[in-house]
C-alpha cells in the first residue's frame, strides 16, 4: 500500500469528503509525526505503535572499500516500536 492507495481507500469510505481534503488529512498526519520527531518529541499511538528518536553515539567506522578508519559523528535516528495490539494482529490466525 502506498500513500496514494491509502488516499483512494479513505476517499472511497468517506464519499462526502473531497479527495483534496483526504490528501491533506494523510499529509497532515505524516507531517505532524515528522515535525514531532524533528523536535525530539515522541509520538505515541496506542494500539498502533510509538515513534521516538534514538541517539547513536559517535564511533569509528570503516570505509568498506578502502578499509580506512573514519570518524562517524553522533546522530539521532527515528525509531518505531510496534504497539501491542498491532503486534498481536500480525500473528493472529
Amino acid at each position: 500500500m502506498t500513500k496514494s492507495d491509502l488516499i483512494l481507500r479513505l476517499a472511497e469510505k468517506n464519499p462526502h469528503l473531497y479527495q483534496r481534503d483526504v490528501e491533506r488529512i494523510v499529509a497532515t498526519v505524516l507531517d505532524e509525526i515528522t515535525a514531532a520527531l524533528a523536535r525530539g518529541d515522541r509520538v505515541e499511538l496506542r494500539g498502533f505503535g510509538a515513534f521516538s528518536v534514538k541517539q547513536r553515539g559517535a564511533r569509528i567506522g570503516r570505509n568498506p572499500r578502502t578499509g580506512e578508519s573514519v570518524r562517524v559523528a553522533e546522530k539521532s535516528v527515528p525509531y518505531f516500536k510496534t504497539g501491542k495490539e498491532l503486534r498481536e494482529r500480525l500473528n493472529a490466525s
Binding site: M1, D41, R42, S76, V77
Partner: protein
C-alpha cells in the same frame, strides 16, 4: 523538554488544517491508522514516500533463554513489523528542523 504527541494532537492538526469538525477529524485519524494496520495484518508492505515504509518480516523459530531462570525455551516463529525511515525523515530528525510550510503536501 521532550513531549509526547498522541491522537489528540493529530486530531487537532487536522481540525486546524482541513477544517473538519473535531469529531470527524478524530475519526479520520483513526481511519488512517486502521487502514495501515489492516494492510500490514494482511502481510502487505506500506510505503509512504518521504516518510518511510513499514514491512512485515517472518522470523523462524529459535532457542531463547528465560533470563530469570536460565531455562531454555523455544521462541516460536512469528511475524514482526519493521519500520524503515526515509532519508527525508532521517534528515529532519538529525537536523532537528522540519518546515511544514516548505513541504509539498500533495505528493
Amino acid at each position: 523538554m521532550s513531549e509526547t504527541i498522541t491522537r489528540a494532537q493529530l486530531t487537532e492538526a487536522i481540525y486546524q488544517e482541513v477544517g473538519l469538525s473535531r469529531n470527524e477529524s478524530a475519526d479520520l485519524v483513526e481511519s488512517v491508522l486502521s487502514e495501515v494496520a489492516d494492510a500490514l495484518s494482511r502481510g502487505e508492505m506500506v510505503k509512504f514516500s518521504s516518510f518511510g515504509s513499514f514491512s512485515v518480516r517472518s522470523k523462524t523459530q529459535r532457542m531463547g533463554r528465560n533470563p530469570k531462570t536460565g531455562e531454555e525455551v523455544p521462541i516460536l516463529p512469528r511475524r514482526v513489523l519493521v519500520f524503515k525511515p526515509s532519508n527525508v525523515l532521517k534528515n529532519a530528525v538529525n537536523d532537528g528542523s522540519y518546515d511544514l510550510e516548505l513541504d509539498e503536501p500533495h505528493k
